[in-house]
């Protein structure tokens, strides 16, 4: 095989990335202590240290992981996912749909054609919902940011509980037989014939899809990340430690349902919400409450509900919100109780 430029560049880039990434902390310290000569321990010094270290760290993680996710995603098209889910029994189907929801490229503006394409080719309603819940909630940007700011354990908890909610909520919707609340025309529509072919893509083109993903996603979220970390850096030394404790701390049991309720109409991308959550936790909010808030903001959004209203009747949308919201609350209570 002739070595393609698009394959060689990432291979050269990878060690460079690693050297820079692993030297970020000493470099930051050197910059702050030696070059700027700032006083150690002062509020401004530590706030600046936090920002100069955290921002490049998170952006570098994003670039690297989104690149590989972009390549991985080129293998998972909506058509393949649908084929895998057609006529699947519930539960196994719910598990598969939730897992595929993580890796299949999904944009909420495609929610309607995707929903119709799934349901009309025989994917059960509950299984379709598992997909529609997992796809936005377990989002690569959210996972990377959680990993970067809280470590792998919190990231793993997020993935695990997000999957559990998507699987169970879809399963419950399937068991309740809510098909009667899908708009009638949905089942009456016939899909067009043919044209369902797969794209034949060369590997070098998949790599360029990795670049495209980086350009598109990192280009869109870096500003939110910067702002979020800036707020975090500002709060670092200046806002009192227990500021949020009485409002979102463990002792306030009502904080979980309240956070979920506030989160439903709020709409933000993962990049904006994670840094805010990190500030909340640092200032005394409990992990369960903060996670519940974050899940509610990302997974349940008003714009998506309005889009889905075209194909679903109101009772089904409300049941969907109630079931997923309930699941998120259970996760919140569970983690407040464990930690």
């Amino acid at each position: 095989m002739k070595l393609n430029k698009s394959i060689v560049i990432p291979l050269v880039f990878l060690p460079v990335w690693y050297v820079i990434y692993s030297n970020l902390q000493p470099f930051t310290d050197w910059l702050i202590d030696t070059i700027f000569g700032m006083k150690k321990g002062a509020h401004l010094t530590e706030a600046l240290r936090f920002f100069i270290f955290e921002f490049p760290k998170v952006v570098m993680l994003l670039v690297l992981i989104i690149f590989f996710v972009g390549i991985l995603r080129s293998y998972f098209t909506a058509e393949r996912t649908r084929k895998a889910l057609e006529g699947k029994k519930t539960f196994t189907g719910n598990i598969m749909a939730s897992l595929l929801g993580i890796v299949t490229p999904f944009c909420s503006c495609s929610a309607i054609p995707l929903f119709l394409g799934f349901v009309e080719s025989g994917v059960p309603l509950g299984v379709t919902f598992s997909f529609l819940i997992a796809a936005p909630m377990i989002n690569e940007v959210a996972i990377i940011l959680l990993y970067g700011m809280f470590g792998w354990k919190v990231a793993a908890i997020y993935i695990g509980t997000g999957l559990a909610i998507a699987i169970l909520a879809g399963w419950i919707i399937g068991k309740l037989k809510l098909e009667k609340w899908v708009e009638e025309w949905v089942y009456a529509t016939k899909l067009g014939e043919g044209n369902g072919e797969e794209e034949k893509i060369a590997f070098s083109q998949r790599i360029s899809m990795g670049y495209d993903a980086v350009k598109e996603i990192v280009g869109k979220v870096w500003l939110y990340v910067a702002l979020g970390i800036l707020v975090g850096a500002g709060a670092h030394g200046y806002v009192p430690e227990e500021f949020m404790a009485s409002l979102m701390g463990k002792s306030a049991w009502y904080s979980v349902p309240l956070s979920v309720l506030i989160g439903i109409p709020l709409y933000s991308n993962a990049a904006g919400i994670v840094p805010i959550v990190s500030v909340l936790i640092e200032k005394g909010a409990s992990l369960g409450t903060a996670l519940a808030f974050m899940m509610s903001v990302i997974a349940l959004s008003l714009p998506e509900m309005i889009i889905l209203r075209k194909v679903l009747k109101l009772p089904l949308i409300l049941s969907f919100i109630a079931i997923v919201g309930g699941g998120i609350m259970i996760v919140g209570f569970l983690f407040n109780w464990i930690f």
């Binding site: 098209t77 944009c107 503006c109 495609s110 995707l114 529509t189 067009g192 797969e198 893509i201 899809m209």
Partner: protein
Amino acid sequence: MNIQVLGTGCPKCKTLEKAVREIVAESKLDATVTKVDDIMEILKFNVMTTPALVIDGKVVLKGRVPSMDELKQILTTKIYFL
């Protein structure tokens, strides 16, 4: 040549439509470009991810906005990957 851009109005769909029109004008292609917004019409092409590009009734691209170079190649040579 009959070119259709399928999309329900998301930002990416508008980007694709604009790019297609630019290339058609720039390369002086003999083509009519129409935007298909109606979901029922889009479903007739069995497309689940938008935006999608249809040339003479055949879906040639779906779910992504290609680079200008790739799009130009598709439109001028009709060589595509689907």
